[in-house]
């Protein structure tokens, strides 16, 4: 035919090698060897560093089941290459944010992978729990007025019949929230679950079956004794209760104030 054949992307030897390592060879028996190979790469050469950054940032290219191994490798590299770790965490968070801003269907799989990656980063102690909670609240509140989703209010970035954010939250919670079982992290998670259940009911109900199951499974896994709300009123009461336990009697006011302070800071 007339048109030129599809040109294959040219990749340097090092890039081909790194890609083979993570895309083909990686599994739970080989990760140790692969970690060694990564340590042996030339970290002074900007080209190699670019390639390594790329493989660890484009996490959706890796098999989903291997994401935790990539995180494990990254966490082992943290000791010697901190700047590299900071860069991949920064870009993962940025990707999650951009995903919310664009909200394009074709990126859904990538977005799930990123959220999973972030959760694993908590499990391997690369990020701390505040980062996770920040992300959770961003996912639920982004694009909504004051970060607070409300029933019946239209938000172009998160329409009522778009349930994808629920899946993001469930994925993140299922990946790492099992560790939020004591101390302040537990309290924060209780509060978030209240908020999340409320969010779920700001959506068009009844929920599609698979989303509903997803939510139920997640809640069941994290808090087996939690009463699962079945409508908006219950969820609203639940949220108020959760806020009262979290902030004491003056709860609501305090919460509002804190939010406002946060907002002010952000605007500064």
């Amino acid at each position: 035919p007339e048109r030129p054949s599809i040109v294959q992307k040219e990749r340097s030897v090092i890039e081909q090698y790194v890609r083979k390592l993570v895309l083909v060879d990686l599994n739970k028996r080989t990760y140790h060897h692969i970690l060694k190979q990564f340590r042996k790469l030339n970290w002074e050469d900007p080209e190699s560093v670019r390639v390594i950054d790329k493989t660890f940032t484009k996490i959706w290219k890796v098999k989903y089941g291997n994401i935790h191994l990539m995180t494990l490798i990254a966490s082992c590299l943290m000791k010697y290459h901190q700047d590299f770790i900071v860069r991949i965490v920064d870009s993962t968070l940025e990707h999650i944010r951009v995903g919310l801003e664009l909200n394009m269907f074709k990126y859904n799989q990538q977005r799930i992978a990123h959220v999973k990656y972030l959760g694993e980063m908590y499990n391997y102690r690369i990020v701390d729990s505040p980062t996770i909670f920040d992300t959770l609240y961003t996912i639920v509140g982004f694009g909504h007025e004051g970060g607070r989703p409300q029933p019946g209010r239209f938000t172009p970035l998160d329409p009522v019949d778009d349930y994808f954010r629920i899946r993001l939250v469930c994925t993140l919670l299922e990946t790492c929230a099992a560790y939020f079982d004591r101390g302040s992290a537990k309290k924060k998670l209780d509060l978030f679950l209240g908020f999340f259940q409320y969010y779920v009911f700001t959506k068009l109900t009844p929920l599609p079956m698979e989303i509903e199951f997803n939510v139920h499974d997640t809640l069941q896994m994290l808090r087996p004794n939690l009463k699962v709300c079945s409508n908006l009123e219950e969820a609203a009461t639940g949220l108020t209760e959760a806020m009262t336990t979290a902030f004491g009697e003056l709860g609501l006011n305090h919460f509002e104030q804190e939010r406002e302070e946060d907002d002010d800071e952000r605007r500064e």
Partner: protein, 111 residues
């Protein structure tokens, strides 16, 4: 230093082809070794396929003190910049969601 004070900024939504050199040039007065501890730039991208939205460039900077951070935000918050191909966008300055920066002392991997 107080651990609760956040001083790492992310400067988002820089045009895709806006280069690191351009950025450094423009912000040199506020982002330089005297005011920031650590900073780096991520080049954005225009994609070959038109259906893929462009990737904005972004920069990260960890300031040494709150004053220089506020000064920078005052000078640049919402400023519109343009890259070589005429893409215009207003930069968005925010606290970086991940506060950490690498230690200055680096352990060398003996491999």
């Amino acid at each position: 230093r107080d651990a609760n004070v956040r001083t790492k900024f992310v400067i988002r939504r820089l045009p895709p082809l806006y280069t690191e050199a351009e950025f450094k040039n423009v912000t040199a007065e506020y982002i330089n070794p005297e005011t920031v501890e650590w900073s780096y730039y991520v080049q954005g991208k225009m994609h070959r396929s038109k259906s893929t939205p462009m990737t904005f460039s972004r920069a990260y900077a960890k300031f040494k003190d709150v004053e220089s951070l506020i000064a920078f935000n005052k000078a640049f918050g919402g400023k519109v910049v343009k890259d070589a191909r005429g893409n215009e966008s207003a930069m968005q300055i925010e606290f970086a969601p991940y506060e950490k920066v690498p230690r200055t002392k680096v352990k060398v991997d003996s491999r």
